[in-house]
């Protein structure tokens, strides 16, 4: 056992049970642990406390429009990929009070919420989802305006990333160059081996949370085993999206007949935007007391697939499903580049898995490319 702390950028190994010590250290430092756990037949993200809360032994089978959990004999803690939840629900909550208004002496007083933001430690962040967090950073705190609610949560998070050792048929992080291995932006990053965790130390805070664990410097053997884990995931990824021509291809094909074809299948249900880890659109609601003297302004997650999303006096800008699907896809893969300097897609595949009719973003782009106007 080592009493000192591993230095930043070091790779160490710990017995699997020692992850509980890291959890305890985080909780002791005031963090609320959010991590993967099994509920309702899916790996979801919720508050966790113990190693036993993790989905040990479960793996996810994903197909377009299909998600199933299966038990394996491997008993890995992090054998799954990504479920319906993403970290945006904690950093960019789907329902949030922005401020309250109170009528006093005939005028209004506006109160900002005073509750301190939660301290979250995210456990098991995959590479695609880490990329999604940096994308939402650019959207919500990267411009002249800052969302103070996002900023307050974001500035305090601790990220314990987990490199993927498996991929499903929906995954295409390699095309979007976001995974399957995390490269930066984490406090700790683990790779799960059958007998131990290999942990890369990403920050001082990450090093501090290793206190009390029997860590040892990783051997060349462990490092090579760990790299084979992510390589295995990489080799499993069959889905591809060719991105080099992307913004231009979509901009040049805004009237492509394929948009009509997708519209015959798309239900405009908004599932893809809800599960997407980068989709950030919101709307606002007001609730008042019966006298109309006090009200809350609530920000609620919204979707460009909702009819009202584009409502202006006189009607909707995008009344057809075709126009709404085109808006989503061209925003995600084309105009996102103009707005935020990167694609809005990280290749996590959630929109493919959770689409009730199995529409595949990668295949729709390919269909447009086959008969493209250039």
């Amino acid at each position: 056992m080592s009493l000192s702390l591993p230095r930043v950028a070091a790779s160490v190994t710990v017995p699997k049970g020692s992850l509980q010590q890291v959890f305890d250290n985080l909780r002791g430092a005031g963090f609320t642990l959010i991590g993967p756990t099994v509920r309702d037949g899916a790996v979801v993200l919720e508050e966790i406390e113990r190693l036993e809360d993790l989905p040990q032994g479960w793996v996810d089978e994903q197909q377009p429009g299909q998600y199933r959990l299966a038990k394996t004999g491997e008993n890995l803690y992090f054998g799954f990929t990504v479920g319906p939840h993403s970290w945006k629900q904690f950093l960019h909550p789907p329902r949030l009070r922005l401020f309250s208004a109170e009528k006093k002496n005939g005028s209004w007083v506006f109160h900002s919420p005073q509750e301190p933001p939660p301290h979250y430690a995210f456990v098991g962040v995959h590479a695609c989802d880490l990329a999604a967090i940096t994308i939402q950073d650019r959207v919500l705190i990267g411009s002249e305006f800052r969302d103070p609610h996002y900023a307050a949560r974001r500035e305090q998070i601790f990220i314990l990333a987990a490199n993927c050792g498996r991929a499903t048929s929906s995954c295409f992080c390699t095309s979007m160059k976001t995974g399957p291995k995390v490269t930066s932006g984490f406090d700790l990053a683990l790779t799960e081996l059958p007998d131990l965790f290999l942990i890369e130390i990403g920050s001082e805070a990450g090093s501090e949370m290793m206190r009390g664990t029997p860590w040892e410097a990783a051997t060349a053997f462990d490092l090579s085993r760990a790299s084979r884990v992510t390589l295995h995931a990489e080799k499993q990824i069959r889905r591809r999206m060719y991105t080099d021509d992307l913004p231009d291809l979509l901009y040049a094909n805004l009237e492509h007949p394929h948009w009509d074809e997708v519209a015959t299948r798309c239900l405009s249900c908004a599932n893809c935007t809800m599960v997407c880890p980068t989709c950030f659109c919101t709307t606002v609601e007001d609730t008042t007391n019966l006298q109309g003297t006090a009200s809350d302004r609530i920000r609620v997650a919204d979707s460009c697939y909702n009819r009202d999303f584009s409502h202006v006096h006189g009607g909707n800008i995008r009344p057809s499903i075709k126009s709404r699907y085109r808006q989503w896809l061209t925003h995600k893969l084309a105009s996102w580049h103009d707005q935020f300097g990167s694609s809005g897609c990280v290749g996590c595949g959630r929109c493919i898995t959770w689409c009730p009719v199995g529409i595949e973003i990668t295949e729709e782009v390919n269909s447009i490319r086959t008969k493209a106007a250039r």
Partner: protein
């Protein structure tokens, strides 16, 4: 404490979604279902620090009802009294219409891009507006009138559906006196109307204009702006000398809510005033 953030240097220190309190100082009925509300911040420091450019807008908030993006229609040289010309069209604007002088509401802004008045100096100016589209252009007219000699010929082509829908008609007299050619049309005349009848873009048929050194600024229904652009291009006005002001659903005005996207632009940030050359591939596209 932990993971480093990539954060822009410039940022607004306060929560951009929380409005400040303003009160209504005066209400002037302008046309059927349209009034101009003069507002001022309750806090004198807010009043003193507020500045805006012609074409920018504010978010007006009625607690419990909602928020609406409304162009500032008053003189930018007097930002202590902010004019908002409001047509009662939806829930929020109808509720705004029920307010009285002295009532309080929430106000945040100014937001968005502005008309390129600096670039327009020394140039001829053709201002083309339809209906309430004249509201965001009124600050342009008032700014031009303050420095009339800084611009060449200035034309205002304006129209509305019917004569009672025309805005600011009482001001046309002094705008003309001070050197703005005002040409007005209505889509549908009534028995008292003696002026032109026809849609706004047709007013181009009545003017002789130089295409060189001319800038066109237009705001109105998109279908009107499409044909204004058509007429301007037919008169060989360069695409990058045509500016339009667009409207979309808007919830936040600071680029967070995603509602006002028009292709690559957020109309709340890069818009509402856009250079036609920059958005040509997207403009006029069905259901875009």
């Amino acid at each position: 404490m932990s993971t480093a953030l990539a954060v822009a240097d410039v940022h607004h220190p306060v929560d951009p979604m929380v409005p400040r309190v303003a009160t209504i100082r005066a209400i002037k009925p302008e046309a059927h279902g349209i009034s101009t509300f003069a507002m001022a911040f309750e806090n004198p420091a807010d009043r003193a620090s507020f500045q805006f450019q012609p074409g920018q807008f504010n978010m007006l908030y009625l607690p419990g009802v909602g928020e609406a993006a409304i162009s500032i229609s008053s003189d930018p040289a007097d930002a202590r009294h902010l004019g908002h010309t409001i047509r009662y069209a939806g829930n929020v604007t109808r509720a705004l219409g029920r307010l009285k002088v002295g009532d309080a509401l929430g106000l945040r802004g100014p937001y968005g891009s502005h008309w390129p008045l600096e670039k327009a100096q020394g140039k001829n100016l053709v201002i083309v507006a339809g209906g309430i589209g004249l509201a965001p252009l009124r600050p342009v007219i008032l700014s031009v009138l303050r420095r009339r000699d800084a611009y060449g010929r200035v034309l205002l082509l304006y129209g509305a559906r019917t004569p009672p829908d025309l805005l600011y008609t009482s001001e046309f007299g002094w705008w003309r006196e001070r050197g703005i050619e005002v040409i007005v049309t209505v889509d549908l005349a009534d028995e008292k109307w003696r002026g032109k009848v026809g849609v706004v873009p047709q007013l181009f048929y009545f003017i002789r204009m130089e295409h060189k050194n001319t800038m066109v600024m237009t705001c109105g229904p998109e279908i009107m702006m499409r044909f204004v652009i058509y007429e301007a291009l037919a008169r060989r006005v360069p695409k990058d000398c045509i500016y339009i002001s667009m409207e979309r659903n808007m919830k936040c005005a600071v680029g967070f809510c995603g509602h006002c996207q028009f292709g690559p632009t957020f109309l709340c940030k890069q818009g509402p005033v856009l250079n036609f050359a920059a958005i040509e591939p997207f403009f006029g596209r069905e259901d875009f």
